[in-house]
Symmetry: D3
Subunit: 126 residues, 6 copies
Amino acid sequence: MDTQELHDRGLALRKRLFGAEAVDRRQKAFGSFGEPLQHIINAYAYGDIWQRPAVPLATKSLAMIAMMAAAGRPNELRVHLRGALNNGCKPEEIREILLLVALYCGIPLANEAHAAAVEVLGDMAE
Amino acid sequence: MDTQELHDRGLALRKRLFGAEAVDRRQKAFGSFGEPLQHIINAYAYGDIWQRPAVPLATKSLAMIAMMAAAGRPNELRVHLRGALNNGCKPEEIREILLLVALYCGIPLANEAHAAAVEVLGDMAE
Amino acid sequence: MDTQELHDRGLALRKRLFGAEAVDRRQKAFGSFGEPLQHIINAYAYGDIWQRPAVPLATKSLAMIAMMAAAGRPNELRVHLRGALNNGCKPEEIREILLLVALYCGIPLANEAHAAAVEVLGDMAE
Amino acid sequence: MDTQELHDRGLALRKRLFGAEAVDRRQKAFGSFGEPLQHIINAYAYGDIWQRPAVPLATKSLAMIAMMAAAGRPNELRVHLRGALNNGCKPEEIREILLLVALYCGIPLANEAHAAAVEVLGDMAE
Amino acid sequence: MDTQELHDRGLALRKRLFGAEAVDRRQKAFGSFGEPLQHIINAYAYGDIWQRPAVPLATKSLAMIAMMAAAGRPNELRVHLRGALNNGCKPEEIREILLLVALYCGIPLANEAHAAAVEVLGDMAE
Amino acid sequence: MDTQELHDRGLALRKRLFGAEAVDRRQKAFGSFGEPLQHIINAYAYGDIWQRPAVPLATKSLAMIAMMAAAGRPNELRVHLRGALNNGCKPEEIREILLLVALYCGIPLANEAHAAAVEVLGDMAE
């Protein structure tokens, strides 16, 4: 496949997952300096890996939440929490992943992830 | 609930997930020095968090795989790869999680996780 | 022991270590979504592990400072710096731990930990 | 060599790399509490390791950028991005290092490093 | 560009950097399960990012060494130490990067990286 | 103070803590390539930071154990477990630190640390 096609279908999926406006904002934030990184994200992450059909998007979102919480990356965690809600994940399901984080990665990373979740889920976290 | 009950139902689930012999071996490996840690694992991890019903065990296993790969913990990754197979996860599903690791945690952690997966999956990885 | 007892004695110790108001604020911050995590913190961390008598609370606080600085967790580091002062640790003792962090975990983590310490210790750091 | 000499030549190099005012500000930020850490930084980092001649300062700056991005330390990354510019590194060179970070440490750390780079490089990043 | 071209030129560069035999061995180690990961490595890492001309290969190798040492990934560190030698880096240059690791990431990671370097450099480390 | 004095008193303390033979073996393992790193360890770690009197050596050993377990550095953990025993720490005290690791850094790092402890403590762990 042509890498331009990879990029375009990746950007389309990315906008569907996280909202067109949010993706545009992130793409512009790093200007022309950031273009090669945006190409990696659009073409290789969302145009290749995220397109693979063996696992539904909701399961990928839960795995991303597990991974970003474990790695202590609250910014990306917030992005993927929004993606998880768009993919139909429920707050109760997200919480179960974050409780595994508490036991297997420690309470501080679970605290950080809960803070991100409460911020993103808002009223849904009640 | 009494913590002894928590411990007993946790140990039972742990043996169902990973095999009674493997769990016995791990419990004995650290002797009496390791008893309080085994209590944390049996009562708090498998007796409490893993018992919660909001997410099926197979999804928890995939989240554990994501987390252990992201944290660079190949020993626990191997344990939870075995648990994932027992919970009905397919090699193709596990691989999708490890490909997300490549993009979001870097190629070296994905290499380490693939090595663990190929070892555990054996012929299933063909 | 009943897990409710574990929770109650844990919450009592946690309030003694960090102040009742600060603990109440943290408990409320994550609402009902955060209740299972608060149970882990109160019952399993402060109701079980922190209650164990083999090491005095001041030594546990210094170990927590070492651990949170090494893991790059400045929020929890600040909490345990306050706990260390309540447990009778002196600023000079805390500083020695942070200097070990510089050599064994690198200057950037020692910088982050010093910033937290200067903020929490205030005039005591002069 | 006397450790005072080590300290003095280190502080001089540090000011040349990052600007005298910025270094003074950082030294004062942690007061007398921070003096032993400043001694480690001045005497051992900049008075010893950074003085060694086998590699030019620009290469050391690029290695520092790789290291601080990989370790998720954006504060020190910003400091060393400024040092890299003072040592004659070009924005295009810095970007190549950050693209390696994307592939080998994951997209989230590359995002964090790009944000720091765009902030420090300003108009140079256009 | 077509992704197959990206893959082919990437695999060619990878073999030039690390030796055809070593690359073949790594490709085969993970069988068909590992094919998508090998595609990421060949097409996206070595076919895209490593091909970019703004920085010479030797500088990229030193940055990789800094990054893999900082991230505690001794297997990939060994691979890139071999690549660095092929790209013309000298043992004295490599050592300077590892000494920065000692100060900025801590003595344990510098020890791990020195062990890898002594193993790969062999007689060149004398 | 002269850096040679720093080095000599550091090496003497290091041998007292970990045994002359073990230190000699480690010093020789990296040959002349490793001399600058050994200077950092002897002069700056053991000749400066470890000499500071505000905290007893046993407390420093417990903090090192906390730090090396949190950072996932089992080799250095084993070294400092031996140092802790030489400094008069009891197995029961060491275990309490490792149980804090379980709760605050996660079960996998606590498992790794327990394995190191059982190996070093041997019969003392019964």
